[in-house]
Point group: D2
Chain length 288, copies 4
């Protein structure tokens, strides 16, 4: 993935301008047709990423295209998809607040079209693994296809599974990522799969989902439960016309984070001062 030069079958990010960008596989001998002329992949292969190439004359002209190595955000926004997607800023916050990083073992449910899966896989390499579940065969197929396209399939296992009902037979999972309509129904199972100090995040567009998920997390003894949303502003930078852009996404979704901690018995659940008789000489609770 980090080679300097474009190889056959590499996924490249072809950019004409702000509106015309493609995530596409460089197949030897094949071509890609745009409304600004044809790109012959043989013109790309062997060149360094970051090269500028020209489309074969459309009528009498060629257009300049940049051939970039795709970034995670390019995966998200330019994949063929049919489901709502996680935005780059949300994916970034999920990484930081869950701690998903190289080596992490992660459960994802559901996988949607695989945009977030591709991001996560990129960051758990080379020793981590993503176990991705969905109850839609179409989503599973799309995700596998997108992972293959990105050459990342060996770091992920994508399969059918209902995290709210099935025993998925995991344990010691570092993080769980829920991107599903009823995340609160998954909390009980998630609790079994996660290791202590493991993290969970649920991404939901509505406040009702956030409430149900938060209360379920509380009931299952999760700790440090916090919900955030991000508003991203793009700034127009011009000599005498600097200002935020007029159009902006008003809401992507809420992210609810929590951590699993040791399950003490009820009297010790509350963060109130601990009564003397419950403490033994080591400062540890006698029952708990």
């Amino acid at each position: 993935m980090n080679s300097e030069f474009i190889n056959e079958n590499d996924l490249v990010f072809l950019v004409l301008d702000d509106r015309r960008k493609w995530l596409i596989k460089a197949k030897s001998g094949e071509e890609f047709h745009t409304d600004r002329g044809i790109i012959y992949f043989n013109d790309l292969i062997g060149k360094p990423y970051g090269s500028v190439i020209f489309s074969k004359p459309y009528e009498t002209q060629g257009y300049k295209f940049c051939v970039l190595r795709p970034l995670p955000s390019d995966y998200i926004l330019h994949m063929k998809r049919k489901t709502q997607i996680v935005y780059p800023e949300d994916a970034g916050l999920i990484l930081i607040y869950t701690g998903i990083s190289p080596g992490s073992k992660v459960i994802e449910a559901g996988c949607g079209s695989g945009a977030l899966t591709c991001i996560l896989v990129n960051y758990i390499r080379p020793d981590g693994h993503i176990y991705s579940y969905d109850i839609s065969q179409k989503n599973i197929e799309r995700t596998i296809k997108n992972l293959k396209k990105a050459g990342l399939q060996r770091f992920a296992t994508v399969q059918y599974g209902d995290i709210t009902n099935d025993n998925l037979e995991h344990n010691n999972i570092d993080s769980v990522v829920l991107d599903m309509p009823q995340p609160w129904e998954a909390i009980e199972n998630v609790d079994h799969y996660l290791k202590l100090s493991g993290t969970i995040v649920s991404f939901s567009p509505t406040i009702e989902q956030v409430k149900k998920t938060t209360f379920s997390l509380k009931n299952h003894g999760f700790f440090d439960i916090n919900t955030y949303e991000l508003i991203k502003r793009k700034i127009q930078v011009k000599e005498n016309a600097t200002r935020p852009f007029t159009r902006m996404v008003g809401h992507t979704g809420y992210m609810t984070f929590a951590r699993k901690i040791q399950d003490l018995q009820n009297p010790y659940r509350e963060k109130k001062p601990f009564k003397k008789e419950y403490i033994n000489f080591n400062g540890m609770p006698l029952r708990g």
Copy 2:
């Protein structure tokens, strides 16, 4: 870093409540004093992360503390620091939009107190490397100390260096992260260090910095130059009192992203239709 159990000298994240959290090294035989009693590290060592322990009775009571494995965001917010810091949401967007990920070779200037350095190092493991420069010896020392504390020092080289003037003798760098007062003065050098298709991000609190940096990026032929800011809202989730929190950080900073592309000569710089006579039979410009 991913062991299940707390070892001697591990960095642990000790949490009493929302306001009282500490990032601290578990030193065998030593203790940590809080206003809610004493934590004896020997009580922690050998326990799994995520355990709940009790402070030694303060007067007649013990208090419940959670001992968590520190997340990247815990590093950022609970380090001893004297400089402005990059917030978790901004660090996340930087990861996603620069593509900094396992294996990346990254230049960072300056390192500040090392909060962002620790985050970046966490994500380029195990094969990448962060080359971090600063012109303040105090910042360099603080960053090295914080990296050591986190056990991440072998993935980073932190040293004195002025990216605006010195020849730092890098090439084929994947990404450059600028967190310095005059980022625009660094662009010319950065251009030499970056590989084609490599990314740059500059984090700046003021709009004047954004403008100068953007214009410098344009002048040096960078591509896909975009500036964003993130507004993070924390949501209070309660049965009958769900609402955004009253207090909120109004502005962390702007992030300006760009990508390096092949440097064509002037006539080919513009995204205008390419005249026929400049195209040879391979679709490549005859002069360029």
Copy 3:
């Protein structure tokens, strides 16, 4: 209120700097003590608003104070108050979206400390009237005191009244402003008081209040029901340090607006195409 010169007993807005501002009555022969010296009201009276005066030497120095005519926003932020207040930006949106303006007859419930009452009264002058109700005698007293202080009491009637239960014996009211914990319980009564095409606004900090109020408005046949919130950013403008301020109010509250329309019978309630048999030759419904 619009005289050019400060008269005895006028309410003046005394400003030392951004943090030290007072809304205060200019009482002849009296004085006002600050940590930057004493203001003698006789120094103010007879001067034009907008004058700069100096405190009597505190030790050996005097400090510059501006004496301004108070604006509505000064009333809101510098009144003595014990309840949550409506912020200036929210008060402004309420004016525009309810259409409360000179001549309007308005019911307000509850009055809180009278900050919003003072704003509304200022804008319905000289021919409108505010009927303000509260179930707390303290709030009523505070509001009356604040109105008197501002010299606006003749445009308002502030009295005890429970809008959810009492028959307040109003009709043909132009607008109703609800600033109370359970606004949804007031909708049925409000419906009787409002004239056709009249407007209602409810200000609530939580999303649960918004939901209950919205559903009650729908059930009572209100039209054009919309909920908004405003985020106000203050910008620091400096030669080389222009940026939004770091600190910002994260949430003031939600405002739900609606309009009263004619109450047609059920078959005509829905905005769906009207069946032929229900239309007479004039295009008006036969029953409705």
Copy 4:
């Protein structure tokens, strides 16, 4: 304007649904064609505002239309216009922070299409006046037409005038509203027209305009100079799908407010402690 019943030639706000709304004059004997049938104004005249009427059958059906009394925000958003407009939330903040209210004498430059003029006129009634200037005859004509449509023309004088150059021969003006490309060039003149304690607001989309205007206000001795922007979020309220709307206006513009104060000589300009020798026995400066 506040009559209960729709009279001939009244401006009415005709609403079919969220996307189909018209601000239109009820002309006796005339009709209005929509894609959902014809509205005969004779069906409206004499009915109370807030009535529901039906379009004359389009093929075999009639559609329900609400006939509302237009609110200020309806004027803003549904006027025929060709220039950028001030949004309702911004108009509201301008009212509150300038103190423009019944009785105010106000200069507006420029008038654009008159949307803000109509709002302001509505709130200075019945004793105030708006003096509105523009350097575009088209804007002046549009504004006069819109004021007449709203029946508000007697409270405003709209005429050609260049506030940056012409002597407009005003004094003792309460507030000045600048909505023009180069507001900073108007500050010197505005200073002459405003009375002491009078207010100025400038509405500008870009940060460069804000900076130049702010520095000009400072140079001319204005006080309490503050810049704000408002972000308005619309909330979707549904039983199980409550959330901010996905689409949102990202930026309307910045509003810079200031107040005119007494012009003391230079040594007294600064807010620093005043030296003893400059104070006479009354606490007033000897020179100033």
